[in-house]
Amino acid sequence: MTEESFWGDLENVQIEPTPLIHLKEQASQLGKKTGGIIRGKVTRKTTPYQGLTYCLNIVAPFLNNYEVSILEVRYRLDAYPLKLEDMAKGKVYECSCEEEFLKDLKEILSSDQVRRIIISLLSNSADWRK
């Protein structure tokens, strides 16, 4: 019997961040940037498609934990290409690689529609905190 590993070099494998990790990071950034007044939440969704579907929601703890879905990401285990849906506009992006995904994700999160939601939630939360 040989003790040689036929698996190749697994010690130095570079772990790629999945789309889920990027969503969780942005969810966490929202909480940090607003002092926890509103926060991001990632939820997994049931779908008929093979693969994974996640939603990025904004939660407003001071508004009865009101929750609004911002976007949805659908991907298989090999991550790319993936589909990214802007839920405010109903627009679906097809992202062929991580770079494209991050570019489109940034476009959605910094869009006027999402900014309007954030400002409204922060303003209404401020009313309730007084």
Binding site: C55, N57, S69, M87, A88
Partner: protein, 270 residues
């Protein structure tokens, strides 16, 4: 009495028709799908020369517009997810309820399995919000783009909505050890031509082998805990506004006078 009116406007209809229907039926909550009105202009029109005012909903529902006579403290957004808007209504007097307003994807843009899964997700969203609020006095109203007999509405893991309130009153059914909470779906009563009312809320001649022609896509589903507060006689498909029929001479929804969908209304005695 809480009167809730839903109408899919089909991107048509006039402000006058919407204002008239809301006033004629004393709607306390007005839910509109496929509305191209600006929310501000419609609420202004609704409130013109009125003592009892409508307010804009504070949530971010983008597929259902919501207008309510309840002020902020009594009408709170719980969740918005695409075509699903969940609200907590706490009237000054009477029981509080959860309102789920929906406009699900059209059959033109999704397959049956997509629609079934959309109902599974809708069910999850409803359960989460019932847990958040602490009760299940829930009413769902809107355009499901599915008939009451289709899998998304009838399946246990979907909306689990049944036509017989005696069954719904049992609360739940158990399959493989998992419990599924019922909805009562009174819209089953609107099929067929035995009465003078139209046999559905939407007419579509698909040309397919199985052609239903009439559909009841616009529905009201009621949790068992809310059945005792539901005024059965109040549930109606509306066919007239201001003395004008919303139907063609052949008795189908007239998209030129109103919309390709007919409005529905019901009352809860909370």
């Amino acid at each position: 009495m809480l009167n809730i009116l839903f109408w899919n406007l089909g991107r048509r209809s006039s402000t006058d028709a919407v204002v008239s229907i809301a006033r004629e039926h004393s709607a306390d909550i007005l839910l509109l799908a496929e509305s191209e009105f600006s929310r501000e202009s419609l609420v202004t029109a609704l409130n013109e020369n009125q003592d009892s005012l409508f307010f804009l909903d504070r949530g971010f529902s983008n597929r259902v517009q919501i207008y309510t006579r309840y002020m902020d403290d009594f009408f709170r957004p719980l969740q918005d997810h695409g075509g699903i808007a969940v609200r907590h209504i706490s009237p000054p007097v009477g029981k509080d309820v959860i309102l789920v307003a929906v406009h699900l994807q059209s059959k033109l843009f999704s397959q049956e399995e997509d629609q079934s899964f959309a109902c599974c997700n809708l069910n999850e969203i409803i359960k989460n919000n019932e847990k958040k609020v602490g009760h299940s006095r829930t009413i769902l109203m809107g355009d499901l783009n599915l008939n009451p007999f289709e899998s998304g509405v009838a399946y246990a893991s979907g909306l689990n909505a049944v036509s017989d309130r005696r069954i719904a009153r049992k609360g739940t059914r158990t399959i493989d050890g998992k419990r599924y909470r019922y909805f009562y779906n009174p819209m089953w009563n609107f099929f067929g031509d035995f009465s003078t009312r139209p046999p559905g809320t939407y007419f579509y001649d698909s040309g397919k082998c199985a052609n239903y022609y009439w559909h009841v896509f616009d529905q009201v589903l009621i949790r068992p805990d809310l059945i005792d507060y539901f005024e059965f006689d109040s549930l109606k498909i509306i066919t007239e506004v201001n003395g004008f029929s919303l139907l063609t001479d052949q008795g189908k929804p007239d998209r030129h006078k109103g919309s390709d969908h007919l409005p529905i209304i019901l009352s809860l005695n909370l």
